[in-house]
């Protein structure tokens, strides 16, 4: 049987070609680039720190556990969750690290710090704020964008309303010109 012609007068493509086309069209999932450079640098710093300042290294590892968790959870390419949580977590840990660095007996200082709960609360709450910031920020941005779009649309709607008032409803009965 002859294939039905399309609007352009050409026969339609066979139906079986469709699934293949859709498979083709589906974008391939990007493979995660596993780089050893980051962990290597991180391990090197940690080893150096362990050799030179063991108490600071211990506090850093213990305090940055939320960041390590975020790193494990965040599977995105740009690792924005890790960055957000890590930066604020670091902001919570760095004051205590500085305190140990400039103290006379860092090990004793470490003992005093890890026995106080508010130290843990500061370090982990800073990380928590990072988590909140990462998940709360899209909502705020969406609200701002919606507002901006509404303002823009209302400008065009008012133009159309004014044209209808002046020329009647027929002014709308036109084909939208190609740009």
């Amino acid at each position: 049987m002859a294939k039905p012609p399309t609007a352009a007068g050409k026969p339609l493509a066979p139906a079986k070609a469709k699934p293949r086309a859709s498979t083709k069209a589906k974008p391939a999932k990007p493979k995660r680039q596993t780089s050893l450079l980051g962990p290597f640098i991180f391990t090197t710093i940690l080893v150096l720190l362990a050799v030179t300042a063991m108490p600071i290294c211990i506090l850093l590892i213990a305090g940055m556990i939320p960041t390590i968790t975020a790193y494990a959870v965040d599977q995105t390419e740009r690792r924005m969750l890790t960055l957000t949580v890590g930066a604020l977590n670091l902001a919570g840990v760095v004051p205590f690290c500085m305190q140990l660095w400039f103290s006379a007996d860092p090990m004793q200082g470490l003992t005093q710090l890890i026995t106080q709960p508010w130290v843990w609360m500061v370090m982990y709450m800073a990380a928590g704020i990072g988590w909140l910031l990462h998940f709360g920020m899209p909502v705020a941005v969406a609200i701002v964008l919606e507002q901006s779009l509404d303002v823009r649309k209302s400008k065009y709607v008012s133009i159309q309303k004014r044209l209808k008032e002046e020329w009647g409803d027929d002014v709308a009965l036109v084909t939208v010109p190609e740009e």
């Binding site: 740009r78 924005m80 969750l81 960055l83 957000t84 949580v85 890590g86 930066a87 604020l88 670091l90 902001a91 919570g92 760095v94 004051p95 690290c97 500085m98 305190q99 660095w101 400039f102 990072g130 910031l133 990462h134 920020m137 899209p138 909502v139 705020a140 941005v141 969406a142 964008l145 919606e146 779009l149 823009r152 649309k153 065009y156 709607v157 133009i159 159309q160 044209l163 209808k164 008032e165 002046e166 020329w167 009647g168 027929d170 002014v171 709308a172 036109v174 084909t175 939208v176 010109p177 740009e179």
Partner: protein
């Protein structure tokens, strides 16, 4: 006119024409009636000593326009001459009619009827009272190029009370030869339907004069008791003189006169020259009557035995269906060659049958056209005969009007005949084309195009006015107002609107055709507009048409007609797109309508500059609306992408804020705990 007689019983006021003549409907003059016009007494407001009478023309029959104007202009002494004419409010009929004022012949009519038996006149009386009396009139008409075409006993009058001086009767209220009995018409003219006869020539008038002389000399109607068709057949077979004279005993001189005037061959028939010689007493060698060649063996057409070509043509025209088989078969050409030895006629017949649309097309109309062509090829001088119609080549005007009024014939068949280009074929059959025939051929080509054009102002209606230049407007809206010229149209329409006869559109196809025919400077786009499907364009076209008439012919004020257009004004106002313009026009309309001027209304509602600007700005507004719509569409598309876009942007912002805090905390801590 019958209605007129009925209404005359009551008191009827007089009717005035041109502020001079008072026509008295209460005083009909039966002895001066014409077949299609009633005669009435007239009072002249100027004292000229002359007595007048009026003929009120029956509106169903158009007058001979050119003849009417010409005869009035030149004032011929031996012809009943119109002194004045024009439409009048003919109160007995409750309508307007054409009134024609004539000088009243004191001696009355020669005879009341063409059929009555009378005491034969003497030869001297015929020569003196008829020939000497009528010949100057016939000659004068011939000089003006208007044959009388109505010479018969009941249309001859005496100018003096003593009934000595004869004058030719009315020749303007009827189409040429319309009321002539077949005896008074030549064979060719008698074969045409009476209302479709040719304008003819002076030769036709001289023939009728010959018959009139024969009648007066014999005292009996020429042709005896023969019916018209039988009389024509006999004329063809035996010649006009032999049939009409019958057994009448004529003197040699009178026989010479009548034979000379009744010769059927127009080229051999007596002219003024021979008549004058005869009147001077010079006797001429009698011309032998030459009859058409007669075959030894008859050719049968539908049971009719025919011995001459003309009889065959006539029988074919009557035979209808059988004729189609005969003209297509070989028998007739063979008979023409063998029995009549007329090879040229056989060839002409074969060509005529093969002319036009091919034989394969079939159908009754095709057969009828073929038979008509065959008859024309056999008898080129005879009228065009088609499906029972018989029309002279220049007699279509009368034929159409009569068919339209239901007086005889069929409009449909006449249209078929014209569209089949049979008149052009007839002209081609005349051998060498005379100048007037060339003009006629071009006219018929133009008329065919007009007929095929379906727009208002063209088609059949236009054809009627083109073929009858003196016809009044036949539109049902104004027919009873007898609109004879363009100047009469707007007042007639105004009265029709006032009288409630027009409630919607004041222009129909007849009015459009009448104006298009009568107006010299006319824009055809107006006609296209009137036929447009869009009611606004249609109304605008009508307003343009009538506005143009008001500019050219007035009157200045047409309040009812303007108000009528006012009812349609809203659709014209709605053509403007701008609402403010519409509101302004709506507010000002009342004041414009109050002016009663179609021209002003036209300028107000159809100002081309304002409409142009409106269209330009409207187009711009539509483009702007479309752009805004596109932008709104884009906004909605952007809204769909907000969650994705917000997520991307927000993560970056969050990371940035975190890093700022991180740096601040580091620097702050360093400053706080460092011993600087």
């Amino acid at each position: 006119m019958a209605a007129a007689a009925k209404k005359l019983e009551g008191p009827v006021s007089s009717v005035r024409l041109r502020d001079r003549w008072e026509i008295l409907p209460n005083i009909p003059l039966a002895d001066l009636h014409s077949p299609t016009a009633q005669a009435y007494a007239v009072e002249d407001h100027r004292t000229t000593g002359q007595s007048y009478f009026a003929l009120i023309a029956d509106p169903k029959y158009p007058p001979r326009g050119a003849a009417l104007n010409l005869v009035k202009m030149v004032r011929l002494p031996h012809v009943l001459t119109p002194v004045e004419f024009g439409p009048v409010d003919w109160t007995p009929d409750g309508r307007r009619c054409l009134a024609i004022i004539f000088e009243r012949p004191a001696g009355g009519r020669l005879l009341a009827s063409c059929e009555q038996t009378i005491t034969p006149w003497s030869e001297a009386e015929v020569a003196e009272r008829i020939l000497s009396g009528l010949l100057p009139g016939i000659r004068a008409l011939d000089t003006e190029g208007v044959p009388h075409r109505g010479i018969r006993p009941d249309n001859i009058f005496f100018r003096d009370a003593a009934r000595r001086q004869t004058t030719l009767g009315d020749c303007v209220t009827q189409s040429p030869g319309r009321h002539q009995p077949a005896a008074y018409e030549t064979i060719e003219s008698a074969m045409a339907m009476p209302w479709a006869r040719s304008a003819g020539t002076v030769a036709d008038d001289l023939y009728a004069l010959g018959v009139l002389c024969l009648y007066l000399l014999s005292g009996r109607p020429p042709g005896g008791d023969l019916a018209e068709e039988a009389l024509i057949d006999e004329k063809i077979k035996r010649g006009s003189f032999a049939v009409l004279a019958g057994d009448t005993r004529l003197s040699i001189a009178m026989a010479e006169l009548c034979r000379g005037l009744l010769i059927d061959d127009v080229d051999e028939r007596w002219t003024f020259k021979e008549l004058e010689h005869w009147l001077e007493g010079r006797r001429l060698t009698p011309k032998p009557i030459v009859l058409a060649p007669r075959a030894t063996r008859a050719f049968e057409v539908a049971g009719e035995q025919c011995f001459s070509i003309r009889m065959i043509a006539r029988a074919l025209a009557r035979a209808a269906e059988q004729a189609a088989h005969i003209v297509q078969g070989p028998a007739l050409p063979n008979w023409l060659q063998r029995s009549l030895d007329d090879k040229a006629a056989a060839i002409s017949l074969t060509k005529a049958v093969g002319d036009g649309d091919g034989p394969s097309s079939g159908g009754a109309a095709h057969d009828a056209r073929m038979v008509a062509r065959a008859a024309m090829s056999l008898d080129p001088l005879a009228p065009i005969r088609y499906r029972g119609l018989s029309v002279a080549v220049d007699g279509f005007g009368g034929a159409l009007v009569t068919a339209l009024n239901g007086g005889g014939g069929s409009v449909k068949l006449l249209v078929e005949l014209l569209l089949a280009r049979l008149p052009q074929f007839w002209l081609r059959m005349q051998g060498s084309l005379r100048p007037e025939h060339q003009g006629l051929s071009r006219s018929y080509d133009r008329l065919c195009r007009t007929l095929e054009d379906r727009r208002p102002g063209f088609g059949l209606e236009r054809l009627i006015y083109e073929l009858n230049p003196a016809l009044h407007c036949l539109s049902p809206l104004v027919e009873n107002r007898f609109v004879y010229g363009l100047a009469d149209l707007l007042p007639a329409l105004e009265l029709a609107v006032v009288g409630g006869a027009i409630e919607n559109h004041p222009v129909d196809r007849h009015i459009a055709a009448f104006v298009a025919h009568s107006s010299k400077k006319f824009d055809e786009t107006v006609l296209t507009a009137i036929g447009h499907i869009d009611p606004a364009i249609k109304v605008a076209g009508m307003l343009h048409l009538l506005g143009q008439l008001q500019v050219e012919h007035g009157p200045d004020k047409l309040p009812a007609l303007t108000q009528l257009f006012g009812r349609h004004a809203q659709i014209l106002i709605n053509r403007f797109h701008n609402r403010r313009t519409r509101e302004r026009l709506g507010e000002e309309l009342t004041a414009v309508l109050r002016d009663g001027s179609l021209v002003r209304l036209l300028q107000f509602l159809d100002d081309s500059k304002e409409r142009q600007e409106d269209s330009t700005y409207y187009a711009r507004a539509r483009a702007n609306y479309a752009i805004a719509a596109k932008a709104i569409e884009r906004c909605e598309a952007d809204r769909q992408r907000i969650p994705e876009e917000a997520a991307t942007t927000a993560s970056v912002i969050a990371a940035g804020i975190s890093m700022v805090f991180s740096v601040l905390a580091t620097v702050g801590s360093f400053l706080l705990y460092g011993h600087f």
